[in-house]
């Protein structure tokens, strides 16, 4: 199996790991977003809570979610390894450098953007995932069946303006991360074609970098406005 470790520890192999985990996380974002759209239903959280129940009890989803946690860990770990290696490849920095002349800001700052995302994920998981699994979540009853009322937790969290702000900022970071990351993931796998690469780029730029972060950012804002009876 020498070839496996050798491949995965080569600079190209590491990027393949980044790419596979990153793209997997990207697809997860779609599912996550679609589910969370239930928040906008205005039904006092029922649809959302039912969705949450489904997500935490369906065996397939549960397996996928472990894959997801692993992906986040591997992606972050590999990001750390790569960033360290890349920095070490230029031990003496330029006294004067003008990289903005040749590349996008986001492409050069994936590490910073990713770190923001990691912090965000930790806070996010602490607030919701941890509470859901280990905390004391109030219960709600629909059609005689008991559900954990995660919606109430959401209302508490998103009722705080600073928490909303944190979310919005982090979604900005997500937008930038994916503006570069999504299409870069395909490049790392060697997927590049005159016909399809422009499509991938457009998908990354508009859907993943703008629509998805906007939708995610809209949720806390919406809940905040609702909680404070502004709408």
């Amino acid at each position: 199996m020498a070839w496996v470790t050798q491949t995965l520890s080569s600079s190209l192999g590491r990027k393949v790991i980044m790419s596979l985990t990153g793209l997997f996380l990207s697809t997860f974002l779609i599912v996550h977003m679609a589910g969370n759209l239930q928040l906008f239903k205005g039904d006092g959280g029922r649809a959302f809570n039912e969705y949450t129940y489904f997500m935490t009890h369906n065996p397939v989803i549960m397996t996928v979610s472990y894959l997801l946690y692993t992906s986040i860990l591997v992606h972050a770990l590999m990001a750390f390894v790569l960033t360290r290696h890349n920095q070490a490849s230029r031990p003496v920095k330029y006294a004067y450098s003008k990289p903005e002349a040749n590349s996008d800001w986001s492409s050069r700052n994936m590490g910073i953007l990713g770190t923001i995302l990691l912090l965000f994920i930790i806070i996010h998981m602490r607030t919701f995932w941890y509470e859901m699994h280990f905390g004391s979540v109030p219960m709600a009853e629909y059609d005689g069946k008991q559900y954990k009322n995660l919606y109430a937790v959401v209302q508490v969290a998103f009722g705080e303006w600073w928490y909303v702000l944190l979310y919005v900022v982090c979604m900005g970071a997500l937008g930038y991360h994916l503006a570069h990351g999504f299409q870069s993931g395909f490049q790392s796998l060697g997927v590049r074609h005159k016909k399809y690469t422009p499509l991938i780029e457009a998908l990354g730029k508009y859907f993943f970098a703008i629509i998805i972060p906007l939708a995610f950012a809209a949720m806390p804002i919406y809940v905040f406005l609702q909680v404070h009876h502004i709408i």
Partner: protein
């Protein structure tokens, strides 16, 4: 015109370097950037100061020897050009120009602006060739290569091995250089039979030399004097992955 220079001076690889200020009063805009350095060196020599060491040879953008990081950019502000092709008309009277050597772990400084790029040679030695001995070739026209393919191979083969891609990359990655060769030989039928080992060996050597990984910022291609396309990096990724998955080399 008047030009203020800040030039990296470093006696050798074992001593620390620093930026030193110089002023030139009579710079003509028709001068090439390196001719401006000739003028500087002439005046330094006459004053008894050590002239600035820098690599150069053809001075027409093809040998790949010249290598200056000028005002924050590899080969200076002009795109699609080497340092020797840069002319002073790209600058204004009174400008301050900062000139540094390529900076990368794999390119140690030899002196002043001169660096050691032998890592590139070792990468080519690891597989950047077709194994054909002199005399054993068949008639050239027996290998038909469609023009589009030949053109694409030529685009990749145009690399001059200057190292600007490494210098410009935030990771000091050599992907553009390595992929240009891997890609050229992968596209051509002549290079096809060895394409797997080639990709494996050249990537391994690239890593062993201490270059960074690719973050696909695209800086390399923008600063490359031959505008080598990022397509080749993708092809190399494909070649490498394909080779790793399908070759029978289990040792790695």
């Amino acid at each position: 015109m008047k030009i203020n220079l800040k030039v990296w001076r470093q006696k050798n690889n074992n001593t620390a370097g620093k930026l030193v200020d110089y002023q030139l009063d009579n710079v003509s805009e028709d001068m090439s950037f390196l001719e401006m350095f000739d003028v500087l060196n002439d005046s330094l020599t006459r004053k008894g100061e050590d002239p600035v060491t820098f690599d150069h040879d053809c001075r027409e953008g093809i040998c790949g020897m010249c290598s200056m990081y000028i005002n924050g950019r590899a080969h200076g502000p002009q795109t699609g050009a080497t340092t020797c092709q840069l002319h002073m008309r790209s600058f204004n009277d009174g400008d301050t120009i900062v000139v540094e050597p390529w900076r990368a772990r794999a390119f140690p400084v030899i002196k002043d602006l001169m660096v050691d790029r032998s890592a590139f040679d070792r990468i080519i030695q690891s597989g950047g060739y077709v194994s054909v001995n002199t005399g054993s070739a068949r008639d050239a026209n027996e290998i038909l290569i469609p023009r589009t393919v030949a053109d694409e191979a030529m685009d990749a083969a145009a690399c001059i091995g200057c190292g600007a891609c490494v210098a410009a990359c935030k990771n000091a990655s050599a992907m553009l250089f390595v992929s240009a060769k891997v890609s050229q030989l992968a596209i051509l039928p002549q290079g096809h039979s060895e394409h797997k080992e080639r990709a494996e060996r050249m990537v391994a050597q690239m890593d062993a030399e201490g270059f960074g990984a690719c973050s696909f910022t695209g800086a390399c291609s923008v600063e490359c004097p031959k505008s080598i396309s990022l397509d080749h990096i993708a092809r190399m990724n494909r070649e490498y992955l394909g080779a790793k998955l399908s070759s029978e080399n289990v040792q790695g």
